[in-house]
Symmetry: C3
Subunit: 423 residues, 3 copies
Amino acid sequence: MPAYATNMRFKFPIVALTLEIITIILFAVFAVYDDGKGHGHDSHSNDTHHEEPPMKLYPMFQDVHVMIFIGFGFLMTFLKRYGFSSVGVNLLLAAFGLQWGLLMQGIWHLDNGKIKVNIFKMINADFSTATVLISFGAVLGKTSPVQLLIMTILEITIFSINEHLVASTLKASDVGASMIIHAYGAYFGLAVARVLYRPGLRDGHDNEGSVYHSDLFAMIGTVFLWMFWPSFNSAIAETPETQLNAVINTYLSLAACVLSAYAISSTHSERTLAGGVAVGTCADMNIEPFGAMVIGFVAGIISTLGFKYLTPILASNLGIQDTCGVHNLHGMPGILGGLAGIVNAFAARWKGQGLYSFSFSFHLSDQTINFLLQGLIMKLPFWGQPPDQNCFDDSIYWEVPEEEDENEESLAHADHSKNKAEA
Amino acid sequence: MPAYATNMRFKFPIVALTLEIITIILFAVFAVYDDGKGHGHDSHSNDTHHEEPPMKLYPMFQDVHVMIFIGFGFLMTFLKRYGFSSVGVNLLLAAFGLQWGLLMQGIWHLDNGKIKVNIFKMINADFSTATVLISFGAVLGKTSPVQLLIMTILEITIFSINEHLVASTLKASDVGASMIIHAYGAYFGLAVARVLYRPGLRDGHDNEGSVYHSDLFAMIGTVFLWMFWPSFNSAIAETPETQLNAVINTYLSLAACVLSAYAISSTHSERTLAGGVAVGTCADMNIEPFGAMVIGFVAGIISTLGFKYLTPILASNLGIQDTCGVHNLHGMPGILGGLAGIVNAFAARWKGQGLYSFSFSFHLSDQTINFLLQGLIMKLPFWGQPPDQNCFDDSIYWEVPEEEDENEESLAHADHSKNKAEA
Amino acid sequence: MPAYATNMRFKFPIVALTLEIITIILFAVFAVYDDGKGHGHDSHSNDTHHEEPPMKLYPMFQDVHVMIFIGFGFLMTFLKRYGFSSVGVNLLLAAFGLQWGLLMQGIWHLDNGKIKVNIFKMINADFSTATVLISFGAVLGKTSPVQLLIMTILEITIFSINEHLVASTLKASDVGASMIIHAYGAYFGLAVARVLYRPGLRDGHDNEGSVYHSDLFAMIGTVFLWMFWPSFNSAIAETPETQLNAVINTYLSLAACVLSAYAISSTHSERTLAGGVAVGTCADMNIEPFGAMVIGFVAGIISTLGFKYLTPILASNLGIQDTCGVHNLHGMPGILGGLAGIVNAFAARWKGQGLYSFSFSFHLSDQTINFLLQGLIMKLPFWGQPPDQNCFDDSIYWEVPEEEDENEESLAHADHSKNKAEA
């Protein structure tokens, strides 16, 4: 490891071990298995799957799990020298985030002072980590693991409060969570990226590109996200019928999105995921199959145009350096999904849906201050943020094969070749 | 993008957007959610899973989905410079194919003039795309996305007619679909490859080989196909008991196939998939576990010998340049599976099974003309087929990292090395 | 293929075909489909899932299947030139092992002289192959496929006897099988590695390292194992409630393990799997969520320290060259899991659990002789063990792209570069 990272050598273990020990203590105090059915005293009010067999949602949970750990992890491996960090830090943040999410979401639904852990709550915990992993994409390569762990705590805590307000108090519907997961995660990440703006990276960085096989690894993440998105949007739908609707809508929206995204530009297949984000909010509504396809079709176009025209403007004019383009993949499609939800809610005069528009504006204004606060907290130099020249480079935090020199492998081959040529 | 591709820049978007818009209109007219149970008017006659809970088949569907998008996509990444196209075009064809398949298969089972979309129909739509992806393997690297979209429309339309004849009219059993999926897809692809014969590629092409890591990516596809094949062969079996039989038969056939395929030649693990193809037709029959193993054992040998001796003959004598060797992986094992089905049907004097042999010969003769017709349609120079020197090369249709030069990455390293050596 | 491998060209096919033919004959004699429910004569005594719908465990089975074939296969791809063998030989051993395991485990539960194959038995067969794949990790790169097939037969046969004694006779509980799968597999592998000790590899081997992308392939295996471990530890739990406990315990143990393993050393993410191993034995017990987290937390620390300090000592002082460090990943966490099971059993005065400590010591002492015997059998030079200089090299047993020269690809690029530079 380079000299730079030495002060990480102590800070990171101390922060990680301390957080985990605190978390274990909180679990010891609050968490128990969900045996509600067996014991007969059922005081859960908003756990709609409570009368179900305990393992019923498990296949759905595993699909979402694959999206979180393989999907998001490998989606970000496109950078030529940041693959270990993409998969590895993704695992770290998600592993901590799901524990923190179980606690933060659980305190709103205590049963005799306890959080009763079940598959439904585990799916929601995975959802809460998704917001962090989306934000991670915006600041990928420019932040230390310690900064990101702090971001995880703040983002999931705010998410849990927001989700509780939207879902319980305002009675708004956001099953696939276009807004409260995707738009929230994207704009949170962009706010952090703004605060952490680095003038030194204005003209790009040697490592901020991909190589052939790193892009192919990223396709593993893309395709797993694409395939399991119907599970993401349907896992916590209230009835088997609405679950089926959510699956069909997401499946068709994603399929239509592929055609429009490829038509505009076939160079980055991850844009085909925009359809899943955009159909999220109204996934379980009766928007009809073609309605879902129109949403996906539009999302594919918006997302692709955003990558082409909006990302450079954000970077040069607003100082937002969005490494993975989360604004195009989660931000705008998330807002599109929210708007589609509002339009559909008004059209259907759905009970409580009128409130969605309020929730929507509430949501955005409410968190701007939080974003800035958090950005400033994370900016404290204490947290081991990498200097410009070490951005997008695994070797600061990971032991990279063949010593620290990232060109070592090719060098060895080339030297070999040179010797042979000279012989 | 190189100058060559410029006329693709307009043709592909126009074709893709037009097809998707037409498809959305057809969905608006025909497709609704399957709410058959709730509304009580059940007029589906051959949807055998209709009384089931709506999400019952969902885990099976997701297994098949993984085979289609990860399995077929990564199976074809072995070419050193065609990985983006393998995974990316696979996604494009499958995304369009499943929409087209839902329409084409749905028109045979209209309910009050509507196609009621459910998980069972989504599995069948995935099956219809499998035929296209098999054919794609035969012409991999030598066709444009526009040609392939046209092939998708034709192949799935014919498949849906054929499937309807085999399944409904002839009452023949072909659960795992050795014949109507695998043999059909393979011989369709070979016919297209024949029409698109390129004398210029007779002596091979620089890019028609693999590199170490491209083969490892292909193993991801191979292993996912291998693992989930029991789901492919059992997903639409009629009862839980026949479903169990289909799972056990496929699982054992695949396992036995590994041993025989490795024994003959251990250099390409994808041959171990032949066992899944071959046991397809009789997967849900009472062939006993050892019967399934014998079929897999023989399939492994046939497939491996085919790669070694038959593929070169097809290329040099018949002008069929079969990039992925789909003849060995899907063609011959598919016929073996059809024959095994016939033998077993006669042995068991199964009701209606005697007709299988008729269906079998009908099937093959019927489509030869279609194949040739389609090949000729696709051959029209208008569709942007790549010239010989650009075959097997992502950079025609994709933005490849580090400009267009495929050696750029290694060059950079090597130059670096050179400078260092000279310094 | 190099000259060295020529005698493998005959030995391997003969051994593989002979084993498969014998296996098929044994299946013809013993194996039938499980139709127990239909026929009404239910004589299974310890098949606890017998009254269940036949396909109920299928999603769990597929999760375990992914762990066996993708998880173990890709976990071992970290070696720069042994990826084909890792995935390919993993497939070979698992495909043969599951057939052999079905037979060996089945003979303890015959029903009218027949082994009734069902999903429950298929999960157990996958478990039996897991022991072999763990041992494979210890001797990776230093053994021939023929040696490994012989190891598979011996290891699974002993495993099946041992499992029967532990599970049925001693009534000990080992659901996630910390001891009988992980510790057994690890120490079996270490014993074989000891007998096959190579003084010539004392100072390492050129190929015994990773390159950047080979480590990224290994992360695919790591993450799939991590995600599906809850299925591994819960698949055969007796009731839905204990299954839920096993899922929650494993999920939380793994999450806590990530934080502690990363805190001690963030360089190898596979150590985060130790939490799944360690919580195995008591996965379905009422250890409370925080108890599972403490076990995972400790396992992460032990595993990481073991890689750092113990592996070099084992190699230099005891002559045990443990390629993948299975001692740290499966051995010590397995024993930790066994101890946690004993402590918990005494604390809970669980029926029959007191016997576990006996089973535990019995288990270890009983097999030492077997290990040594097997090691000696495998050591016979007849079985085609590779010479020192060909260790960790795919090209002995696989056709590697670009002829046999492993540097060919880079050489070609470098030569290209050189020519360009000189021009």
